[in-house]
Symmetry: C2
Subunit: 145 residues, 2 copies
């Protein structure tokens, strides 16, 4: 059973069935190459008449999130988006135009969080850093001068 994409493999290695809808969704997500909303995925699936139900799409997203193959991003608008990623602790830089994103490592944030814990007295369990801007391509495209 070769030719499994990263997300398909993620389903399998986490001990979940590799069903037809899940394969199709993995493909759609990987074809997007960047952050996407649940609505994007629903639209993609409907557009290709794959016959995949809305609930299945939300369930797949939820599952991939639990597995750690997908992470939820909170856009500045308040909407949710999801971006494929590896399981290690990291953060994302998301292009606000094309939604392509890159992972960045911890970059000293863990130490910063400890520092903040010490100063505030809080015990910090979770931190989230998200950065938004323009990717190199979109910078070029938006500076016609």
């Amino acid at each position: 059973m070769p030719d499994l994409t990263a997300l398909e493999t993620a389903f399998e290695t986490a001990g979940h069935r590799l069903t037809r809808p899940r394969r199709a969704l993995a493909e759609l997500i990987e074809a997007r190459d960047g952050a996407f909303s649940a609505a994007d995925l629903v639209a993609d699936a409907q557009g290709r008449r794959l016959g995949i139900g809305r609930a299945t799409i939300f369930r797949a997203i939820e599952l991939l999130e639990e597995i750690g193959a997908l992470e939820r991003i909170d856009l500045p608008t308040g909407e949710h988006a999801y971006v494929p990623c590896g399981p290690a602790h990291h953060h994302h830089v998301v292009c606000r135009r094309c939604s392509r994103s890159v992972e960045i490592g911890d970059l000293g944030l863990g130490a910063l969080a400890r520092d903040i814990a010490r100063k505030t007295g809080y015990r910090i369990d979770v931190h989230r850093l998200e950065l938004f801007g323009l990717c190199p391509d979109c910078q070029l495209a938006s500076v016609p001068a």
Copy 2:
């Protein structure tokens, strides 16, 4: 017209009318002393039979956010919460039990963002850092040993 709370003052100085519903909401928010959801505020208002419409509550939250007197927090659960704050750039540490929160300054994050921009080639416009954990009080309360 003395005795204006911080949020009431925020409405006024931003050039908006200080109406009865807005005063009441400012009071409710300040009484909460921490992060709250829109639903919390709706419940508070209904509980006190203030006769304030749902739409008015959402409009007040939106307005306070524009003014910079309130900031939206994206909880790890995906829900939205709001926390009163000053207009300067800062971040929040939120207690996941009691929702009380403290502001922290930039703490070198601006420099970190520039560093990330250089490494990734992205032009970074917005960054958001949110930290969640237990405040000192809730740590005490949850360690009965």
